[in-house]
Protein backbone atom coordinates (compact mmCIF):
# COMPACT_ATOMS: atom_id res chain seq x y z
CA UNK A 1 0.00 0.00 0.00
CA UNK A 2 3.01 2.25 0.38
CA UNK A 3 4.14 4.95 -1.94
CA UNK A 4 7.27 3.70 -3.67
CA UNK A 5 10.36 3.69 -1.46
CA UNK A 6 8.57 5.14 1.58
CA UNK A 7 8.25 3.16 4.81
CA UNK A 8 7.53 3.71 8.47
CA UNK A 9 10.69 2.57 10.23
CA UNK A 10 9.81 0.25 13.12
CA UNK A 11 12.64 0.20 15.66
CA UNK A 12 11.20 -1.99 18.42
CA UNK A 13 12.39 -1.90 22.03
CA UNK A 14 16.07 -2.80 21.88
CA UNK A 15 17.51 -0.73 19.04
CA UNK A 16 16.61 2.81 20.18
CA UNK A 17 18.39 2.22 23.48
CA UNK A 18 20.98 -0.52 22.94
CA UNK A 19 21.85 -0.50 19.25
CA UNK A 20 21.83 3.07 18.02
CA UNK A 21 24.71 2.21 15.69
CA UNK A 22 22.37 -0.17 13.89
CA UNK A 23 19.70 2.51 13.57
CA UNK A 24 22.17 5.19 12.48
CA UNK A 25 23.80 3.02 9.83
CA UNK A 26 20.41 1.86 8.56
CA UNK A 27 19.22 5.43 8.12
CA UNK A 28 22.43 6.45 6.34
CA UNK A 29 22.35 3.56 3.89
CA UNK A 30 18.62 4.00 3.28
CA UNK A 31 19.03 7.70 2.51
CA UNK A 32 21.86 7.01 0.07
CA UNK A 33 19.67 4.51 -1.78
CA UNK A 34 16.60 6.71 -1.96
CA UNK A 35 14.54 4.99 0.72
CA UNK A 36 12.50 7.44 2.76
CA UNK A 37 11.63 6.64 6.38
CA UNK A 38 8.57 8.11 8.06
CA UNK A 39 9.11 8.59 11.79
CA UNK A 40 6.37 7.40 14.14
CA UNK A 41 7.53 8.41 17.64
CA UNK A 42 4.89 6.41 19.51
CA UNK A 43 5.39 2.94 18.09
CA UNK A 44 5.31 0.47 20.99
CA UNK A 45 6.61 -3.05 21.62
CA UNK A 46 5.82 -5.39 18.71
CA UNK A 47 4.49 -8.03 21.09
CA UNK A 48 7.22 -10.67 20.76
CA UNK A 49 8.03 -10.97 24.53
CA UNK A 50 4.31 -11.21 25.29
CA UNK A 51 3.55 -13.92 22.71
CA UNK A 52 4.92 -16.58 25.06
CA UNK A 53 2.50 -15.41 27.74
CA UNK A 54 -0.67 -14.66 25.80
CA UNK A 55 -0.91 -14.84 22.03
CA UNK A 56 -4.05 -12.72 21.86
CA UNK A 57 -2.48 -9.82 23.75
CA UNK A 58 0.63 -10.00 21.55
CA UNK A 59 -1.55 -9.87 18.44
CA UNK A 60 -3.34 -6.76 19.67
CA UNK A 61 0.01 -5.13 20.51
CA UNK A 62 1.27 -5.86 17.01
CA UNK A 63 -1.99 -4.62 15.47
CA UNK A 64 -1.64 -1.29 17.28
CA UNK A 65 1.61 -0.66 15.42
CA UNK A 66 0.15 -1.81 12.11
CA UNK A 67 -2.77 0.60 12.64
CA UNK A 68 -0.36 3.51 13.20
CA UNK A 69 1.52 2.72 9.99
CA UNK A 70 -1.77 2.39 8.11
CA UNK A 71 -2.80 5.80 9.42
CA UNK A 72 0.47 7.22 8.07
CA UNK A 73 -0.24 5.60 4.71
CA UNK A 74 2.86 3.41 4.62
CA UNK A 75 4.13 -0.14 4.86
CA UNK A 76 6.54 -1.02 7.66
CA UNK A 77 10.29 -1.51 7.44
CA UNK A 78 11.73 -3.46 10.38
CA UNK A 79 15.35 -3.95 11.40
CA UNK A 80 14.91 -6.32 14.32
CA UNK A 81 14.00 -9.80 13.08
CA UNK A 82 11.89 -10.69 16.11
CA UNK A 83 9.75 -7.61 15.37
CA UNK A 84 9.68 -8.69 11.70
CA UNK A 85 8.29 -12.08 12.68
CA UNK A 86 5.52 -10.89 14.97
CA UNK A 87 4.42 -7.97 12.81
CA UNK A 88 4.50 -10.03 9.59
CA UNK A 89 2.61 -12.92 11.14
CA UNK A 90 -0.04 -10.59 12.57
CA UNK A 91 -0.35 -8.57 9.36
CA UNK A 92 -0.90 -11.75 7.42
CA UNK A 93 -3.43 -13.18 9.87
CA UNK A 94 -5.40 -9.93 9.94
CA UNK A 95 -5.32 -9.57 6.15
CA UNK A 96 -7.01 -12.93 5.65
CA UNK A 97 -9.04 -13.61 8.80
CA UNK A 98 -11.95 -11.17 8.92
CA UNK A 99 -13.32 -12.46 12.24
CA UNK A 100 -9.93 -12.07 13.88
CA UNK A 101 -9.54 -8.56 12.53
CA UNK A 102 -12.94 -7.62 13.94
CA UNK A 103 -12.00 -9.04 17.32
CA UNK A 104 -8.70 -7.16 17.34
CA UNK A 105 -10.44 -3.93 16.33
CA UNK A 106 -12.82 -4.33 19.27
CA UNK A 107 -9.76 -4.15 21.49
CA UNK A 108 -8.07 -1.36 19.52
CA UNK A 109 -11.22 0.73 19.89
CA UNK A 110 -10.25 1.25 23.56
CA UNK A 111 -7.25 3.28 22.41
CA UNK A 112 -8.96 5.01 19.52
CA UNK A 113 -7.42 3.01 16.68
CA UNK A 114 -8.63 0.76 13.86
CA UNK A 115 -6.73 -1.52 11.51
CA UNK A 116 -8.17 -2.31 8.08
CA UNK A 117 -5.61 -4.85 6.99
CA UNK A 118 -3.49 -3.21 4.32
CA UNK A 119 0.02 -2.98 5.75
CA UNK A 120 2.94 -5.05 4.47
CA UNK A 121 5.96 -5.66 6.70
CA UNK A 122 9.48 -6.15 5.36
CA UNK A 123 12.91 -6.34 6.95
CA UNK A 124 15.33 -3.70 5.68
CA UNK A 125 17.64 -6.35 4.21
CA UNK A 126 14.75 -7.76 2.20
CA UNK A 127 13.86 -4.29 0.94
CA UNK A 128 17.47 -3.77 -0.12
CA UNK A 129 17.49 -7.07 -1.96
CA UNK A 130 14.03 -6.97 -3.55
CA UNK A 131 13.14 -3.29 -3.95
CA UNK A 132 16.49 -1.59 -4.38
CA UNK A 133 18.36 -4.47 -5.99
CA UNK A 134 21.99 -5.52 -6.13
CA UNK A 135 22.71 -3.50 -9.26
CA UNK A 136 21.69 -0.15 -7.76
CA UNK A 137 23.59 -0.95 -4.58
CA UNK A 138 26.60 -2.03 -6.61
CA UNK A 139 26.61 1.32 -8.39
CA UNK A 140 27.06 3.06 -5.02
CA UNK A 141 30.08 1.02 -3.91
CA UNK A 142 33.13 3.30 -3.90
CA UNK A 143 35.31 1.48 -1.41
CA UNK A 144 35.24 -2.29 -2.05
CA UNK A 145 35.90 -4.31 1.10
CA UNK A 146 38.34 -6.61 -0.65
CA UNK A 147 39.82 -9.25 1.59
CA UNK A 148 37.29 -8.81 4.41
CA UNK A 149 35.95 -12.15 5.67
CA UNK A 150 32.47 -11.86 7.16
CA UNK A 151 30.62 -14.68 8.89
CA UNK A 152 26.95 -13.95 8.35
CA UNK A 153 24.51 -14.87 11.06
CA UNK A 154 21.07 -14.87 9.43
CA UNK A 155 19.29 -15.57 12.69
CA UNK A 156 15.91 -17.23 12.93
CA UNK A 157 13.09 -14.80 12.24
CA UNK A 158 14.25 -13.28 8.99
CA UNK A 159 13.09 -16.40 7.12
CA UNK A 160 11.10 -18.59 9.51
CA UNK A 161 8.31 -19.64 9.63
CA UNK A 162 8.53 -19.80 5.84
CA UNK A 163 4.74 -19.51 5.42
CA UNK A 164 4.74 -15.80 6.18
CA UNK A 165 7.73 -14.77 4.07
CA UNK A 166 6.45 -15.36 0.53
CA UNK A 167 9.32 -17.72 -0.22
CA UNK A 168 11.66 -14.82 -0.93
CA UNK A 169 14.63 -16.84 0.39
CA UNK A 170 15.28 -20.38 1.61
CA UNK A 171 15.26 -21.00 5.38
CA UNK A 172 17.67 -23.92 5.06
CA UNK A 173 20.00 -22.54 2.41
CA UNK A 174 19.54 -18.80 2.11
CA UNK A 175 21.49 -16.48 -0.16
CA UNK A 176 20.00 -12.96 0.00
CA UNK A 177 22.34 -11.63 2.69
CA UNK A 178 25.33 -13.39 1.13
CA UNK A 179 24.64 -11.53 -2.10
CA UNK A 180 24.38 -8.23 -0.24
CA UNK A 181 27.80 -8.93 1.27
CA UNK A 182 29.26 -10.03 -2.07
CA UNK A 183 28.24 -6.74 -3.69
CA UNK A 184 30.48 -4.91 -1.20
CA UNK A 185 33.49 -6.90 -2.31
CA UNK A 186 33.78 -8.70 1.01
CA UNK A 187 33.70 -12.47 1.31
CA UNK A 188 30.80 -14.18 3.03
CA UNK A 189 32.45 -17.12 4.73
CA UNK A 190 30.70 -20.46 4.59
CA UNK A 191 30.57 -22.40 7.86
CA UNK A 192 28.83 -25.40 9.35
CA UNK A 193 25.47 -24.98 11.10
CA UNK A 194 25.46 -21.29 10.26
CA UNK A 195 21.66 -21.17 10.50
CA UNK A 196 21.81 -22.07 14.21
CA UNK A 197 19.98 -19.77 16.62
CA UNK A 198 21.93 -17.37 18.88
CA UNK A 199 19.90 -18.47 21.92
CA UNK A 200 18.86 -14.89 22.68
CA UNK A 201 15.30 -15.76 23.66
CA UNK A 202 16.70 -17.78 26.56
CA UNK A 203 18.84 -15.04 28.06
CA UNK A 204 16.15 -14.00 30.53
CA UNK A 205 15.18 -17.60 31.32
CA UNK A 206 18.51 -19.43 31.70
CA UNK A 207 21.45 -17.11 31.14
CA UNK A 208 24.14 -19.77 31.33
CA UNK A 209 22.40 -21.92 28.72
CA UNK A 210 21.91 -18.95 26.40
CA UNK A 211 25.58 -17.99 26.69
CA UNK A 212 26.63 -21.58 26.01
CA UNK A 213 24.60 -21.62 22.80
CA UNK A 214 26.21 -18.38 21.60
CA UNK A 215 29.61 -19.61 22.68
CA UNK A 216 29.45 -22.54 20.28
CA UNK A 217 29.26 -20.25 17.28
CA UNK A 218 31.92 -17.87 18.60
CA UNK A 219 34.26 -20.84 19.09
CA UNK A 220 33.63 -21.97 15.55
CA UNK A 221 34.20 -18.54 14.03
CA UNK A 222 37.35 -17.97 16.05
CA UNK A 223 38.76 -21.16 14.62
CA UNK A 224 37.83 -20.10 11.08
CA UNK A 225 39.63 -16.81 11.57
CA UNK A 226 36.88 -14.54 10.25
CA UNK A 227 37.24 -10.76 10.52
CA UNK A 228 33.75 -10.09 11.84
CA UNK A 229 30.25 -11.43 12.35
CA UNK A 230 27.52 -9.81 10.23
CA UNK A 231 24.07 -9.38 11.81
CA UNK A 232 20.54 -8.20 11.01
CA UNK A 233 19.07 -8.37 14.51
CA UNK A 234 19.87 -6.42 17.71
CA UNK A 235 19.20 -9.34 19.99
CA UNK A 236 21.70 -11.51 18.21
CA UNK A 237 24.11 -8.62 18.87
CA UNK A 238 23.22 -8.67 22.57
CA UNK A 239 24.35 -12.29 22.55
CA UNK A 240 27.42 -12.19 20.31
CA UNK A 241 28.65 -8.68 21.11
CA UNK A 242 27.33 -7.31 24.43
CA UNK A 243 27.80 -10.70 26.05
CA UNK A 244 31.05 -11.58 24.31
CA UNK A 245 33.10 -10.47 27.30
CA UNK A 246 30.85 -12.35 29.71
CA UNK A 247 31.23 -15.53 27.64
CA UNK A 248 34.99 -14.96 27.65
CA UNK A 249 35.14 -14.68 31.44
CA UNK A 250 32.58 -17.39 32.22
CA UNK A 251 34.16 -20.00 29.98
CA UNK A 252 37.77 -18.78 30.15
CA UNK A 253 38.21 -18.13 26.48
CA UNK A 254 39.08 -15.16 24.24
CA UNK A 255 37.57 -13.91 21.00
CA UNK A 256 37.98 -10.17 20.35
CA UNK A 257 35.67 -10.77 17.42
CA UNK A 258 34.07 -7.62 15.99
CA UNK A 259 30.32 -7.77 15.45
CA UNK A 260 28.91 -5.58 12.68
CA UNK A 261 25.42 -4.83 11.50
CA UNK A 262 24.79 -5.34 7.79
CA UNK A 263 24.19 -1.60 7.11
CA UNK A 264 27.52 -0.81 8.78
CA UNK A 265 29.24 -3.14 6.32
CA UNK A 266 27.32 -1.73 3.36
CA UNK A 267 27.98 1.82 4.53
CA UNK A 268 31.74 1.33 4.66
CA UNK A 269 31.71 -0.01 1.11
CA UNK A 270 29.63 3.00 0.06
CA UNK A 271 32.40 5.26 1.31
CA UNK A 272 30.62 6.49 4.44
CA UNK A 273 32.43 7.63 7.56
CA UNK A 274 32.81 4.91 10.22
CA UNK A 275 31.77 7.39 12.90
CA UNK A 276 28.54 8.21 11.07
CA UNK A 277 27.87 4.48 10.90
CA UNK A 278 28.10 4.29 14.69
CA UNK A 279 31.38 2.39 14.92
CA UNK A 280 32.19 4.25 18.15
CA UNK A 281 29.30 2.37 19.72
CA UNK A 282 30.43 -1.09 18.73
CA UNK A 283 31.26 -2.72 22.02
CA UNK A 284 33.95 -4.96 20.58
CA UNK A 285 36.34 -2.56 18.91
CA UNK A 286 36.33 -2.97 15.15
CA UNK A 287 39.64 -1.20 14.48
CA UNK A 288 41.15 -4.33 12.96
CA UNK A 289 38.32 -4.42 10.43
CA UNK A 290 38.78 -0.78 9.46
CA UNK A 291 42.53 -1.18 9.13
CA UNK A 292 42.17 -4.26 6.96
CA UNK A 293 40.05 -2.37 4.44
CA UNK A 294 42.30 0.68 4.49
CA UNK A 295 40.34 3.05 6.69
CA UNK A 296 41.85 4.60 9.81
Amino acid sequence: MSRMNQYSLFLGCTIPVRAQNYEASTRKVAAALGINFIHIPNFTCCGYPISSLDEETAEVMAARNLALAEKAGTDICTICTACTGVLTETAQALATDEAKRQHVNERLKDIGLTYNGGVKVKHFARILYEEVGLERIGAKITHPLTGLRIALHYGCHYLKPHEIYDGFDSPENPHTLDELIAVTGAESVSYMNRMRCCGGALLAVDENLALKISKEKLDQLKELGVDAIGLICPFCSVMYESNQKKIETTFETMYNLPVLFLPQILGLAMGMDAKDLGFNMNRVRANAVLEKIGIN
Binding site: P16, D110, G199
Partner: protein, 164 residues
Amino acid sequence: MADPIRIDKNTLRFCDEVLKTPGGENLLRCFACGTCTASCPVRETDERYNPRRIIRMVLLGMKHEVLRSDFIWLCSTCYTCSERCPQGVHLTSIMRALKNIAVREGIIPPSFRMQTKAIRETGKLYEIEDFDNKKRARMGLPELEKKCPDLEALISQGNLKDIK
Protein backbone atom coordinates in the same frame (compact mmCIF):
# COMPACT_ATOMS: atom_id res chain seq x y z
CA MET B 1 12.21 -44.92 39.69
CA ALA B 2 9.33 -43.34 37.76
CA ASP B 3 5.67 -44.07 38.47
CA PRO B 4 3.47 -45.71 35.84
CA ILE B 5 1.54 -43.14 33.79
CA ARG B 6 -2.19 -43.20 34.43
CA ILE B 7 -4.23 -43.20 31.22
CA ASP B 8 -7.80 -42.19 31.98
CA LYS B 9 -10.35 -39.61 30.95
CA ASN B 10 -8.13 -36.89 32.36
CA THR B 11 -5.46 -37.84 29.82
CA LEU B 12 -7.59 -36.66 26.98
CA ARG B 13 -8.60 -33.51 28.83
CA PHE B 14 -5.12 -31.94 28.63
CA CYS B 15 -4.71 -33.05 25.01
CA ASP B 16 -8.02 -31.45 24.26
CA GLU B 17 -7.04 -28.25 26.01
CA VAL B 18 -3.90 -27.97 23.91
CA LEU B 19 -5.77 -28.85 20.71
CA LYS B 20 -8.22 -26.03 21.42
CA THR B 21 -5.50 -23.46 22.19
CA PRO B 22 -4.48 -21.40 19.11
CA GLY B 23 -1.32 -22.99 17.74
CA GLY B 24 -1.99 -26.42 19.26
CA GLU B 25 -4.35 -27.67 16.56
CA ASN B 26 -1.92 -30.08 14.89
CA LEU B 27 -0.73 -31.88 18.02
CA LEU B 28 -2.17 -35.27 17.00
CA ARG B 29 -0.19 -35.35 13.76
CA CYS B 30 3.03 -36.19 15.62
CA PHE B 31 4.35 -39.69 15.02
CA ALA B 32 7.44 -39.19 17.20
CA CYS B 33 10.05 -39.37 14.46
CA GLY B 34 12.43 -37.14 16.46
CA THR B 35 13.40 -34.82 13.59
CA CYS B 36 12.48 -31.86 15.81
CA THR B 37 14.76 -33.01 18.60
CA ALA B 38 17.64 -33.75 16.26
CA SER B 39 17.32 -30.21 14.82
CA CYS B 40 16.92 -28.32 18.08
CA PRO B 41 19.82 -25.94 18.90
CA VAL B 42 18.84 -25.84 22.56
CA ARG B 43 18.84 -29.61 22.93
CA GLU B 44 22.25 -29.74 21.30
CA THR B 45 23.57 -27.76 24.25
CA ASP B 46 21.30 -29.08 27.01
CA GLU B 47 19.58 -32.43 26.92
CA ARG B 48 16.98 -31.29 29.44
CA TYR B 49 15.11 -29.67 26.56
CA ASN B 50 13.61 -32.37 24.34
CA PRO B 51 10.76 -31.34 22.03
CA ARG B 52 9.73 -34.91 21.17
CA ARG B 53 9.56 -35.76 24.86
CA ILE B 54 7.38 -32.76 25.59
CA ILE B 55 4.91 -33.63 22.82
CA ARG B 56 4.76 -37.22 24.09
CA MET B 57 4.07 -36.02 27.62
CA VAL B 58 1.25 -33.82 26.37
CA LEU B 59 -0.25 -36.71 24.38
CA LEU B 60 -0.12 -38.83 27.54
CA GLY B 61 -1.97 -36.13 29.45
CA MET B 62 0.90 -35.35 31.86
CA LYS B 63 -0.37 -31.82 32.44
CA HIS B 64 1.13 -31.32 35.87
CA GLU B 65 4.63 -32.42 34.81
CA VAL B 66 4.59 -30.36 31.63
CA LEU B 67 3.25 -27.10 33.03
CA ARG B 68 5.36 -27.13 36.15
CA SER B 69 8.56 -27.97 34.32
CA ASP B 70 11.05 -25.31 33.36
CA PHE B 71 11.70 -26.91 30.02
CA ILE B 72 8.75 -25.46 28.10
CA TRP B 73 10.34 -22.06 28.74
CA LEU B 74 13.57 -23.18 27.06
CA CYS B 75 12.21 -23.03 23.53
CA SER B 76 14.22 -20.36 21.72
CA THR B 77 11.49 -19.93 19.05
CA CYS B 78 13.98 -20.59 16.28
CA TYR B 79 11.33 -22.50 14.25
CA THR B 80 13.83 -25.11 13.00
CA CYS B 81 11.66 -27.95 14.35
CA SER B 82 8.54 -26.52 12.74
CA GLU B 83 10.27 -26.10 9.41
CA ARG B 84 11.61 -29.65 9.34
CA CYS B 85 8.67 -31.55 10.88
CA PRO B 86 7.40 -33.96 8.20
CA GLN B 87 3.91 -33.92 9.68
CA GLY B 88 3.28 -30.18 10.03
CA VAL B 89 2.86 -30.38 13.80
CA HIS B 90 3.96 -26.72 14.18
CA LEU B 91 5.95 -27.39 17.32
CA THR B 92 6.93 -23.80 17.95
CA SER B 93 3.23 -22.88 18.09
CA ILE B 94 2.56 -25.80 20.44
CA MET B 95 5.34 -24.68 22.77
CA ARG B 96 3.80 -21.21 22.71
CA ALA B 97 0.37 -22.68 23.46
CA LEU B 98 1.82 -24.64 26.41
CA LYS B 99 3.44 -21.50 27.80
CA ASN B 100 0.17 -19.60 27.34
CA ILE B 101 -1.71 -22.35 29.23
CA ALA B 102 0.88 -22.28 32.02
CA VAL B 103 0.42 -18.52 32.39
CA ARG B 104 -3.36 -18.94 32.52
CA GLU B 105 -2.76 -21.27 35.48
CA GLY B 106 -0.65 -18.64 37.20
CA ILE B 107 2.79 -19.99 36.25
CA ILE B 108 5.14 -17.37 34.86
CA PRO B 109 8.95 -17.04 35.08
CA PRO B 110 9.93 -13.90 37.05
CA SER B 111 11.76 -12.32 34.10
CA PHE B 112 8.61 -12.48 31.98
CA ARG B 113 6.59 -10.90 34.76
CA MET B 114 9.10 -8.05 34.87
CA GLN B 115 8.97 -7.62 31.10
CA THR B 116 5.16 -7.45 31.20
CA LYS B 117 5.36 -4.84 33.95
CA ALA B 118 7.82 -2.72 31.93
CA ILE B 119 5.63 -2.91 28.85
CA ARG B 120 2.53 -1.94 30.81
CA GLU B 121 4.27 1.06 32.36
CA THR B 122 6.14 2.41 29.36
CA GLY B 123 4.92 0.64 26.22
CA LYS B 124 8.33 -0.96 25.67
CA LEU B 125 10.82 -3.33 27.28
CA TYR B 126 13.30 -0.53 27.88
CA GLU B 127 12.01 2.85 28.88
CA ILE B 128 13.14 5.78 26.76
CA GLU B 129 14.50 8.45 29.08
CA ASP B 130 15.68 12.00 28.45
CA PHE B 131 19.23 10.66 28.53
CA ASP B 132 18.45 8.30 25.65
CA ASN B 133 16.83 11.00 23.54
CA LYS B 134 19.85 13.28 24.11
CA LYS B 135 22.19 10.47 23.05
CA ARG B 136 20.01 9.90 20.00
CA ALA B 137 20.07 13.58 19.11
CA ARG B 138 23.87 13.54 19.18
CA MET B 139 23.80 10.72 16.64
CA GLY B 140 21.30 12.61 14.49
CA LEU B 141 18.48 10.21 15.40
CA PRO B 142 14.91 11.46 15.88
CA GLU B 143 13.31 11.73 19.31
CA LEU B 144 11.06 8.97 20.64
CA GLU B 145 8.05 9.19 22.91
CA LYS B 146 9.06 8.30 26.46
CA LYS B 147 6.00 6.67 27.94
CA CYS B 148 2.95 5.38 26.10
CA PRO B 149 -0.18 4.70 28.17
CA ASP B 150 -1.89 2.68 25.42
CA LEU B 151 -0.42 -0.68 26.39
CA GLU B 152 -1.68 -0.46 29.97
CA ALA B 153 -5.14 0.10 28.50
CA LEU B 154 -4.75 -2.86 26.11
CA ILE B 155 -3.15 -5.33 28.51
CA SER B 156 -5.53 -4.57 31.39
CA GLN B 157 -8.43 -5.69 29.17
CA GLY B 158 -6.88 -9.02 28.26
CA ASN B 159 -5.76 -12.33 29.74
CA LEU B 160 -2.65 -10.76 31.30
CA LYS B 161 -4.55 -8.19 33.33
CA ASP B 162 -3.38 -9.70 36.62
CA ILE B 163 0.30 -9.78 35.68
CA LYS B 164 1.71 -6.70 37.36
